[in-house]
């Protein structure tokens, strides 16, 4: 019964995805396409949940449905709203896309079945990850253990990717001029409702940050949630106020600080001649060291993600609008 239900859910969700994709190809109103992308990430996050990839679903929800929509709208504000219909059909792309799709299908043909207990991914390293997480790291969320400890070097790289994305956007767009912008009109209902909501969002962000060892979440998601709280503030009360709360100029530095926290945590273990990012060296008790290391590292990730996302938002929304005719 339950297994059937899961199958039905999967099929429905995948069908939704396909429908959304075709619809967004057909619709020329870019604004509507942005809306559909929002739905797309809601559905794909549901799929991730159904595949038991909770942390991925969390990220998809925070970034895909929330921040990306805001960002796309900010970008859309700067260009035209409707697709240029004249130059729509470039036939060169079609065979390439079809070829890529065919190659993907061809490759998938020999995959092990979904949920197959004999698949190599369940045999080769996964048992070791599960065993060692219990023994040496002792936190319930294995995903966090893999991300922050086993493959902490990758996560360090990803943090730097985010940092460099922030630097790239800053280089291209700058910080924007807030004083020329049209501020939102006063809306009493929104003002009343949003204030407690922001408090709630920030508290929830803190919860996700420090609960990442036990449940879904971690620094990345927490950073996005925190930034969303400030974006909400700036949406409702106007960007002038938001920039007074968190000045735009300190954001790049906060982002750099996040990267540095991560890196220096890794370098600490070098002092006792252990490899980079070996958290065992952080404390006399190896398990305690792992806990401390993961905590610090997640804090670095959270800080970097928070400041970079807010930075990107500021630089997009601070641009002057040019109305194309």
């Amino acid at each position: 019964m339950i297994a059937n239900l899961e199958l039905v859910i999967d099929i429905c969700l995948l069908a939704f995805l396909i429908m959304i994709v075709f619809a967004s190809i057909k619709i020329t109103d870019l604004f509507a396409v942005t809306m559909l992308f929002g739905i797309f990430s809601f559905v794909s996050a549901l799929l991730f949940l159904d595949l038991d990839a909770v942390d991925v679903a969390f990220t998809e929800a925070a970034v895909g449905a929330g921040f990306t929509t805001v960002l796309m709208l900010s970008a859309l504000r700067l260009t035209t709203r409707f697709e240029n219909v004249k130059h729509r059909h470039s036939l060169l792309g079609l065979p390439i896309v079809i070829l890529t799709g065919a190659a993907l299908l061809y490759g998938v043909a020999d995959f092990p079945n979904m949920g197959d207990a004999n698949a190599p991914i369940h045999h080769h390293l996964a048992p070791d990850f599960i065993r060692l997480t219990q023994q040496k790291i002792d936190i319930p969320n294995i995903v966090t253990a893999v991300l922050a400890s086993f493959r902490g070097y990758d996560t360090f790289g990803e943090t730097v990717v985010i940092f460099s994305a922030g630097a790239a956007v800053l280089m291209l767009l700058g910080m924007g001029h807030v004083e020329r912008k049209q501020e939102p009109e006063k809306n009493l209902i929104l003002w009343v409702v949003v204030k407690p909501m922001i408090a709630l969002i920030l508290i929830f962000g803190l919860y996700v940050q420090f609960h990442g060892d036990f449940g879904a979440g971690g620094g990345f998601q927490a950073g996005v949630i925190f930034a969303s709280g400030f974006i909400l503030y700036s949406l409702v009360f106007g960007e002038t106020y938001a920039r007074k709360v968190i000045p735009a100029t300190i954001l790049p530095r906060l982002s750099a600080l996040g990267v540095l926290i991560y890196g220096v945590t890794g370098l600490m273990s070098l002092i006792s001649n252990k490899p980079f990012l070996d958290y065992n060296a952080l404390s006399s008790n190896p398990v305690g060291g792992q806990h401390l290391g993961i905590l610090l590292v997640e804090a670095g990730v959270g800080l970097a993600v928070f400041s970079t996302i807010l930075l990107i938002y500021y630089s997009f929304s601070g641009r002057e609008v040019i109305h194309y005719e």
């Binding site: 490759g107 730097v160 630097a167 291209l172 540095l260 890196g263 980079f276």
Partner: protein, 493 residues
């Protein structure tokens, strides 16, 4: 704390953290100083690593203290060490060169971020070259790519934005393809470590998933390496980016992609599978040949010298691919040698062009008339680089071409050897055009001796002289290359 044992990770982490420090201090001068110091540290580290590799063959460093398949290992053998030398060497010269060039070409508010991005590109490329983990390659590829897109867009020409956008789209497709390939391999084997993959892949090699993974990886890396039909981003990206960036990219970026190609083909899939079972060696040779001829011919028709050299880069990549396609020991040696030597000559040429752009704010052929007299030192270095590109004996370019032709003759492919000769003539034509304009046409009225900053000239001449040095004494480059080839092919020396 023993610094030496941690060099493999420090060579990546130091530039990464220095990039963060640049932003934190937010001061132009200190940003440059940090960049310079980090580059020198990387150079020092890479020289030490080469020495260690020559003694112990392979350096393995487990990050986080987790052993290889579980954690991420850094794995440095002779091939990586060679790449590290190329990267950090050019990074040092570019950093010296950057001070004045950036002051002139980059808007003030972006200069700190420029150095940050430069450090990130460097760290990303180095990160690709030291890691022994397939997914880690992707992560560092992303770091370097994102920063590269931003750097290219800073060129003062408006077309730089378009070039950057073009590269962004193509590069992202390439990165996605690489990720798909890695994902497919992970599904079939359950591991991401290259060493572990190479042992577990033969069992499942005869599945459509692995064949598809191979195709995706190759095309993805091919885009990054500007392999012939996928090279469209390269000419614009090199032509319109700031001089510092085009110098560094021309010397390193595509080579790192080719390194990844070699690593995937040889260490991961194995020669048997990738080059012989898949008919990939033939494809590589054909693409390489077309690239050599097409790139050279296109170069002749360019009026912008920077663009001309960019097309020449497509041709040079053709040489390297052709050499890899031979799938033989001399072929690989020639390929690695050419990676090394091409970095030297393209570094020289682009740096010289950067100096010309510094004075005339343009690299069109028309501004260069009589420049041999007004900027004698710069043009002399350009001449050396050009001769090296043509392959005149006594320069670095000669060595790699010599090895390539020998390898081709070994495989009794004399028509291809003929192609190399024809390409050399074509190179002579397009370099000759510049030389002719620079030395045999009179300078326009009123233009006299041009002053250029000493620091830039010093960096340029170190590059230029290294062309001659490695052309006369090829022991170092050849030694490491052949050691690398031996390790790749599993031959114990």
């Amino acid at each position: 704390m023993n610094l030496m044992t941690h060099l493999p990770v420090l060579i990546v982490v130091v530039p990464l953290l220095s990039a963060a420090l640049c932003v934190l201090f937010n001061n132009r001068k200190s940003a440059w100083l940090i960049t310079l110091l980090a580059s020198f540290f990387c150079f020092y580290a890479s020289i030490n690593l080469i020495q260690i590799v020559q003694e112990v063959d392979v350096i393995i460093y487990s990050v986080g203290g987790w052993e290889a398949p579980l954690g991420i290992e850094l794995r440095i053998d002779a091939l990586n060490a060679l790449m590290l030398l190329v990267l950090s060497g050019s990074a040092v010269l570019v950093s010296i060169y950057a001070l004045k060039s950036v002051e002139k070409e980059i808007p003030v508010q972006n200069q700190v971020l420029f150095y940050t991005a430069l450090l990130l590109v460097k760290a990303g490329l180095i990160g690709i070259c030291v890691t022994g983990d397939a997914f880690n390659i992707f992560v560092f590829l992303e770091i370097s790519s994102i920063s590269t897109y931003a750097l290219i867009s800073l060129g003062h020409d408006r077309r730089a934005l378009h070039a950057s956008y073009q590269y962004l789209i193509m590069g992202t497709i390439g990165a996605t393809f690489i990720l798909i390939g890695i994902g497919f391999m992970y599904v079939m084997t359950g591991t991401l470590n290259i060493q572990d993959l190479s042992q577990r892949l033969p069992v499942v090699a005869d599945t459509s998933a692995i064949r598809a993974a191979f195709a995706f990886l190759t095309i993805g890396v091919g885009i990054k390496a500007a392999m012939l039909p996928l090279h469209q981003w390269l000419p614009n990206a090199y032509a319109y980016s700031p001089s510092v960036v085009s110098t560094f990219l021309a010397a390193t970026a595509t080579k790192v992609a080719i390194y990844v190609l070699i690593r995937f083909q040889l260490s991961l899939f194995g020669i048997e599978f990738s080059l012989l079972q898949m008919p990939f060696n033939k494809i590589l040779m054909i693409l390489g040949t077309i690239g050599i001829l097409g790139g050279s011919v296109s170069a002749i028709y360019q009026s912008n010298v920077k663009r001309m050299l960019a097309y020449s880069s497509v041709a040079q990549i053709g040489y390297i691919l052709l050499a890899i396609g031979l799938a033989s020991e001399p072929g690989f040696t020639a390929a690695l040698l050419h990676i090394f030597n091409h970095a030297l000559m393209k570094g020289t040429l682009f740096m010289a062009l950067g100096l010309i752009a510094f004075r005339f704010a343009s690299t069109e052929l028309s501004v260069m008339s009589g420049i041999g007299k007004t900027m004698p030192l710069t043009m002399a270095a350009f001449l050396i680089g050009g001769l090296s590109l043509i392959g005149v004996p006594g320069t670095a370019g000669f060595i790699s071409k010599w090895y390539l032709v020998t390898a081709l003759l070994d495989a009794s492919l004399w028509p291809l050897a003929l192609v190399i000769l024809i390409a050399s003539v074509l190179t002579l034509i397009y370099i000759g055009r510049v030389i002719e304009v620079a030395y045999f046409q009179p300078a326009p009225e009123g233009i006299t001796q041009q002053k250029v900053p000493k620091s830039m000239l010093v960096a340029l001449w170190i590059f230029a002289l290294s062309n001659i040095y490695f052309g006369l004494y090829s022991d170092i480059s050849l030694g490491i290359s052949s050691l690398a080839v031996n390790q790749l092919m599993g031959v114990t020396p």
